[in-house]
């Protein structure tokens, strides 16, 4: 802690400058455990530990949503470029505690906003002075930061340059910070932290640059790291036998963890998705299944030990991360009560697993077009062509990128059927809504040379994509009790922002600026508004002074406008921006 921070903290303590009774104790572990029954607040990234992004608030409902209008807006910063990026963008989910909102911009500045009285007042901004060029040069997919976590009197946030920062919630001063990821190794952080018990959990990005991925837990009292679970096993660890090459491909094997996970207190289990293997499109470089890339991991939250894993795309040649959030839902499937883990994978399939043991329950394609496989084995959930005895999987060989098939159209495209933007699950209707990228794109394989040292802070992808065809989107609904698709609301642009569901509504945003509400049962559009800026962030809802609001960050960031814009030509003129929109009735 710096001297000035220390002084500020002491002054704040002596003067008791915070009028609210809540400030004194802050968010407790108990409150986070019960966040699902705290409808007015949005205390953690995915609202609660289940990652359902369901709010029971119903002041805004299907009968009156047509009257929703802008309550207030706020301009934020962080739009500047750095490294290979011309600008930052907004992908965060606002966090709200008792009318106080906390948001981040792309470079990791945290803003505390008082929403009481029907207007916005910025109380402080913590600028972490992120090293733009150091971090931005090795951020594959934009200058992004997905938000904060709360614990006690601290606001926890990450920076693209690899830090975990604890900010005093009252003063906006940095209380402490530690380096968790190392941009010198091409590790950067874009995900929001997750607080569980007295720990804050961090995931990492960088699988396009030859990292060895991990998930790390930092103790909030000692500020020391208590565990680090590598997503690529070291030699001799279980799973290391799935790296069959003799060139130590595992050392640069990828396996990022840049989407915030979920937690089941009933079994003390943390659920976290793992990204693609590296090099992305040269699967021959790394024969074997490449565990734990493209997998869902269940971890003991106290030790970080892996309890089980489920791999969606063994020996991936498509960049089909399984980095997505795992939604925890209890529902009957074909009449049997199940503890489910729901995951919508970049490979185009939605999966339900038994989250107590990792067993496959059901799976189905949620995109209109899948070409890389004929489908999933109904028993195992593996792609039907998968052969555990084959070191390099060919799947549908006429589609799968390989040396023999170096220029190939894949569906879904490499951004996946669903990327990081979160799904939402409605426990009343038992319907799960997926923000879909309906896509194909073209992969050109440029094989990496086995044994040749991997360039430091250089792309290590074994090829690259381009965008010869239009990409669109949809909100696709799945009945989790049957594992069947029950609706698809098509959108002209891909879903790059994610979803929110309330008892009878689903909210989403589009990269052309549109925000809309759908009837949760019929998926018919009931309301829309165009913000005039690309939406690349999920909507959320909260109450302030007892009144319900819907909030969403607006400002195109991410990978789209740099790498994928040719597939959505109308978006080419969309300038970057950085603002917050908040809606209410009357």
């Amino acid at each position: 802690m710096s001297k000035s921070t220390c002084v500020a903290a002491v002054v704040a303590l002596i003067l008791g400058s915070q009028p609210t009774v809540f400030a004194a104790e802050g968010v407790t572990a108990e409150q986070l455990l019960n966040a699902d029954s705290d409808p007015g607040n949005w205390l953690t990234h995915h609202k609660d530990y289940s990652a359902q992004r369901f709010s029971p608030l119903n002041q805004i409902n299907k009968d009156n949503v047509k009257n929703l209008h802008v309550a207030w807006t706020l301009q934020l910063g962080g739009i500047e470029g750095g490294g290979i990026w011309t600008h930052g963008g907004l992908e965060g989910t606002p966090i709200v505690e008792n009318g106080m909102m906390f948001v981040t911009d792309g470079w990791g500045s945290v803003y505390k906003i008082d929403t009481r009285g029907g207007q916005a007042k910025v109380l402080w901004r913590m600028d972490p002075k992120t090293d733009h060029d150091w971090a931005g040069a090795v951020a594959c997919c934009g200058v992004d930061n997905r938000g904060v976590a709360l614990s006690g009197n601290l606001v926890l946030s990450h920076t693209l340059d690899g830090r975990l920062i604890a900010t005093n919630k009252d003063t906006g001063q940095i209380a402490w910070q530690r380096q968790v990821a190392d941009p010198d190794k091409s590790e950067v952080i874009t995900g929001a932290p997750l607080v569980v018990k007295n720990m804050v959990i961090t995931g990492v990005a960088g699988a396009e640059y030859g990292i060895r991925g991990w998930i790390a837990a930092t103790d909030l009292t000692s500020q020391k790291e208590v565990w680090r679970t590598y997503t690529i096993p070291a030699k001799g660890e279980p799973g290391s036998e799935t790296w069959k090459d003799s060139n130590n491909a595992a050392a640069t094997g990828g396996g990022s963890t840049w989407v915030t996970g979920s937690y089941d207190p009933r079994t003390n289990t943390l659920f976290w998705g793992v990204g693609n293997p590296g090099p992305d499109w040269d699967s021959e470089y790394r024969p074997g299944d490449n565990l734990y890339t493209d997998s869902t991991l269940a971890l003991d939250v106290d030790s970080g030990k892996i309890k089980w894993h489920f791999q969606h795309t063994p020996n991936d040649a498509f960049d089909y991360d399984s980095v997505a959030e795992n939604v925890l839902a209890d529902a009957p499937v074909h009449g049997q009560p199940r503890h489910l883990d729901l995951e919508a994978d970049r490979n185009g399939f939605a999966y339900a697993l038994d989250r107590d043991n990792g067993q496959f329950v059901w799976g189905l394609p949620f995109v209109k077009k899948v070409t890389w496989t004929k489908g999933l084995d109904p028993e195992t959930g593996k792609p039907v062509e998968y052969d555990p005895k084959t070191p390099v999987q060919k799947y549908n060989a006429s589609v799968t990128p390989s040396k023999e098939n170096p220029v190939t159209m894949i569906c879904p495209g490499n951004m996946g059927g669903k990327n990081w933007p979160p799904t939402a699950y409605n426990p009343v209707l038992k319907e799960w809504y997926i923000p879909v990228i309906e896509s194909c794109n073209r992969i050109t394989v440029k094989p990496e040379t086995p044994g040749k040292p991997v360039g430091k802070r250089e792309f290590f992808t074994g090829g690259g994509p381009d965008q010869p065809v239009r990409i669109t989107g949809s909100v696709t609904a799945i009945d989790v009790t049957t594992g069947k698709e029950v609706g698809k609301h098509e959108t002209p642009f891909p879903m790059l922002g994610g979803l929110l569901t309330t008892p009878d509504l689903v909210f989403y945003g589009q990269p052309d600026g549109k925000i809309a509400a759908l009837d949760a049962k019929t998926l018919q559009e009931l309301w829309s508004f165009n913000t005039g800026g690309g939406v690349n962030a999920p909507p959320m809802t909260f109450t302030s002074d007892g009144k319900q609001y819907v909030a969403i960050l607006v400002g195109q960031g991410g990978a789209w406008d740099k790498w994928f814009i040719e597939s959505t030509p109308e978006l080419k003129g969309m300038p970057p921006g950085s603002s917050l929109y908040v809606f209410s009735l009357n």
């Binding site: 530690r178 020391k224 590598y230 792309f459």
Partner: protein, 201 residues
């Protein structure tokens, strides 16, 4: 130090294009500014070495054989059927580029439009910058990195370690306190799933 090496570059630059009649140091400054502002860095990287990745492979400008005039043409017109954008807004309106108009080129052939077109003077400056500071330069060095970024970012640290065999460059060390950037190191916990942890318990 950054400033000193900047002047060194200006000298190289002067030797390369002497006689062009422009104020050489200013032009190099201008070229660097354009190289950053036009986001050449986005694909070619600060080193100009380019390389593969999500956006496809950008040309290695350090190894380019193109002349100043050819580089200027490539910036104005982009590259047919490739990812290099055209920075002359009117490149394909009247046949000025490769004798082609937009209508003669299919959707996969016409080069992408630049986000922000450049003025002729900007194109001139950045082409000269590439010839003077990037073309034929071999591996990127710490000094070149500092000339590009200044000393405020950790982006150059990897070159310090490489150039000095793992030892921080003495001059670079002296530069650092001037800028507010963190030099914290990662203190990671041991591998949760390592077999020896079982033995301990």
């Amino acid at each position: 130090m950054a400033k000193r090496f900047h002047y060194a570059f200006a000298a190289i630059f002067a030797a390369t294009v002497a006689g062009s009649g422009v104020a050489l140091a200013d032009s190099s400054d201008e070229g660097l500014r354009v190289f950053k502002a036009a986001n050449c860095v986005g694909c070619h990287k600060w080193t100009g070495a380019g390389g593969g990745g999500y956006g496809g492979a950008a040309a290695n400008l350090r190894k380019t054989k193109l002349t100043l005039e050819q580089i200027e043409l490539t910036i104005r017109c982009g590259r047919i059927s490739k990812g290099m954008p055209h920075f002359d807004a009117d490149a394909y309106t009247d046949g000025r580029c490769y004798g082609m108009k937009a209508a003669q080129l299919g959707p996969g052939q016409i080069p992408p439009e630049a986000d922000h077109p450049l003025r002729p003077a900007d194109i001139d400056a950045v082409a000269k910058y590439v010839v003077a500071n990037i073309k034929g330069q071999g591996e990127a060095t710490l000094d070149q990195c500092h000339s590009f970024f200044g000393a405020g970012s950790r982006v150059c640290d990897m070159y310090a370690k490489r150039d000095e065999g793992g030892v921080q460059h003495a001059d670079a060390e002296q530069q650092e306190p001037a800028e507010a950037h963190q030099h914290m190191k990662v203190d990671a916990a041991t591998d949760s799933n390592a077999p020896h942890q079982d033995a301990e318990k």
